[in-house]
């Protein structure tokens, strides 16, 4: 079953001579429960796609169908600094009108799921980058979304922390049966996590290649299979970049 369908999507920012075409004739389908990684050089409109799917922005032309609630995560955790970690996780439920007792119970359970129990009363600035992203993940889960949109969520973290979070994310996504669209520019990360890797060309963003990842899980980011796929995808990206540079 398809939960996200973008057909003939164009997105242009600005108008007249300063107009920038971010996406051109984009066709994209994501099935329920699928983990899709979008990869491409910066400026290929990856974040724009997530904004469109999240409903934060409208396409210039084309249609976008999204079946299910979405939650969005960024490279920065974007936790609210004036709230404790627990209050941050609770906020989406408050906005949705969930009763207090239920909110409390679910917050505790969610913080446990992302291994932040004991940090509920800390403020975001008191946590490390990796812990903040765990908090952001718990907040995303608190939105009761079926679709998780992630915009380079681990891009600012060190390799060790990222590795741990990959495993945790994989487990949590499987447990909850979520559909994930994961934007990254890290090829290995895409090969480590994705069921499918979609390569986008820069300016304007179009789908230029799709790789189905057949590697069995659990995967390791340093395994030969992941490395070999990453090399193939990197080669594709290199050709893209060269073609773009010659244009």
């Amino acid at each position: 079953m398809t939960v996200i369908r973008l057909s003939g999507v164009n997105k242009t920012f600005g108008s007249g001579r300063g107009a920038v075409t971010a996406l051109r004739d984009l066709e994209l389908e994501v099935a329920a429960g699928e983990f899709v990684c979008l990869i491409g050089a910066s400026g290929c409109g990856k974040s724009t796609i997530l904004n469109l799917v999240a409903g934060l922005d409208d396409p210039s032309t084309g249609t976008i169908e999204v079946d299910g609630r979405t939650a969005l995560m960024f490279q920065e955790a974007a936790l609210f600094p004036w709230l404790t970690v627990a209050a941050n996780v609770e906020l989406p439920m408050r906005l949705a009108g969930v009763p207090k007792a239920e909110r409390r119970a679910r917050t505790e359970q969610l913080l446990g799921a992302v291994h932040l129990d004991g940090f509920a009363r800390k403020r975001p600035h008191q946590l490390s980058g990796g812990m903040r992203q765990r908090g952001a993940l718990a907040r995303a889960f608190a939105q009761d979304a079926e679709i998780l949109l992630m915009d380079e969520p681990f891009g600012a973290l060190d390799a060790m922390t990222r590795d741990v979070l990959h495993t945790e994310l994989e487990d949590l996504v499987r447990q909850r049966g979520l559909t994930v669209v994961f934007v990254t520019h890290n090829v290995r990360e895409a090969a480590r996590l994705g069921d499918r890797i979609i390569v986008l060309s820069p300016r304007p963003g179009r789908v230029t290649a799709t790789f189905d990842v057949e590697i069995t899980r659990p995967r390791r980011i340093d395994s030969p299979e992941v490395s070999s796929l990453a090399a193939t995808v990197t080669e594709q990206l290199r050709e893209e970049a060269l073609a773009h540079a010659r244009r």
């Binding site: 920065e76 974007a78 004036w82 906005l95 600035h125 008191q126």
Partner: protein, 296 residues
């Protein structure tokens, strides 16, 4: 300006990395803090004490030099003796209570006006282009130039003083709010929108809390303006039967009581420092610490 004093109480930062390690960190930090309390108070205090001592000594030097006769420029000993007398006979207490009541009412008025004007300007582009720069313009006007008009409008009265105090402080408060709303991190707004906070809900849950540090900065600056306006007002608008700090100052000048005059100046300086550092400084630091803006 914000300065983090070395050795100021710190919230123990959580070490990145393993969870088990980080639990041990606050423990160690707590031990260090307890032992250093006396030392910290000493290090925070002695430079101030030394500065005051040097200031008093320089003052005394000028008096000793015989530049002006002592009935015009009395030395610290005479002034502090006079101050002691004025405190003992209740003059200072009464004056402070009158002045601080005015300050409180005037500041509250400024707060109401500042918040209303600030939120309207922050939320409407048209209003902003119309009066945005006017607010800053009024802020730069020396408040004393409002007094002739205030006296025409309200005669020699409490209202005349309040009018100018409110006018002095309100622009800073409004500007603090406007700047805060303008500089909300767009990422936080996006995060809020993505979880369904739009319109008023976004204002209530994202924009207002995010602009709090800037708003508090505006309050602090507003207080400084209010206090100056109030002192100018009390010197100009002297109401019979209301011996405020400013009117006493003016009174002692008329009576050629230099020691009393300087004693009142010390009172004014003292109130300014106390309110600024203790009230607004503490509030400011508390907010910044909560928001993680102190870099600890």
């Amino acid at each position: 300006m914000l300065v983090v004093e070395p050795g100021a109480p710190e919230t123990p930062a959580v070490e990145p990395g393993l969870l088990d390690d980080s639990a041990a960190v606050p423990e160690a930090a707590r031990g260090r803090r307890g032992a250093g309390l006396g030392r910290r108070i000493w290090f925070a205090t002695w430079p101030k004490v030394a500065a005051i001592a040097i200031g008093l000594f320089l003052w005394q030097l000028v008096v000793w030099s015989g530049w002006k006769p002592e009935y015009v420029l009395p030395g610290p000993a005479k002034v502090f003796a006079e101050l002691g007398d004025l405190i003992a006979d209740g003059t200072v207490g009464e004056a402070i209570s009158i002045t601080m009541r005015r300050a409180a009412v005037g500041f509250a008025l400024a707060l109401a006006v500042g918040i209303v004007v600030g939120s309207i300007v922050a939320s409407s582009k048209i209003v902003r282009s119309a009066v945005g720069s006017l607010i800053t313009g009024i802020q730069t006007m020396p408040s004393i130039v409002w007094f002739p008009l205030a006296i025409l409008l309200f005669q020699i009265s409490e209202q005349a003083i309040m009018f100018v105090v409110a006018l002095g402080a309100a622009p800073s408060i409004a500007n603090g709010l406007i700047t805060g709303v303008d500089h909300v991190n767009p990422l936080l707004l996006r995060a809020g929108r993505a979880m369904g906070a739009r319109g008023f809900t976004a204002y209530r849950h994202v924009v207002l809390p995010a602009s709090l540090p800037s708003f508090v900065g505006g309050l602090k600056q507003g207080w400084a303006f209010a206090w100056r306006s109030l002192m100018a007002g009390e010197l100009l608008v002297i109401i019979a039967g209301e011996p405020s700090v400013g009117s006493l100052l003016q009174n002692y000048r008329n009576l050629n009581n230099a020691a009393g005059l300087m004693a009142m100046m010390i009172v004014i300086l003292f109130i300014g420092i106390v309110v600024d550092t203790l009230c607004f400084g503490t509030l400011d630091r508390w907010v910044r610490r909560r928001y993680g803006l102190l870099g600890d």
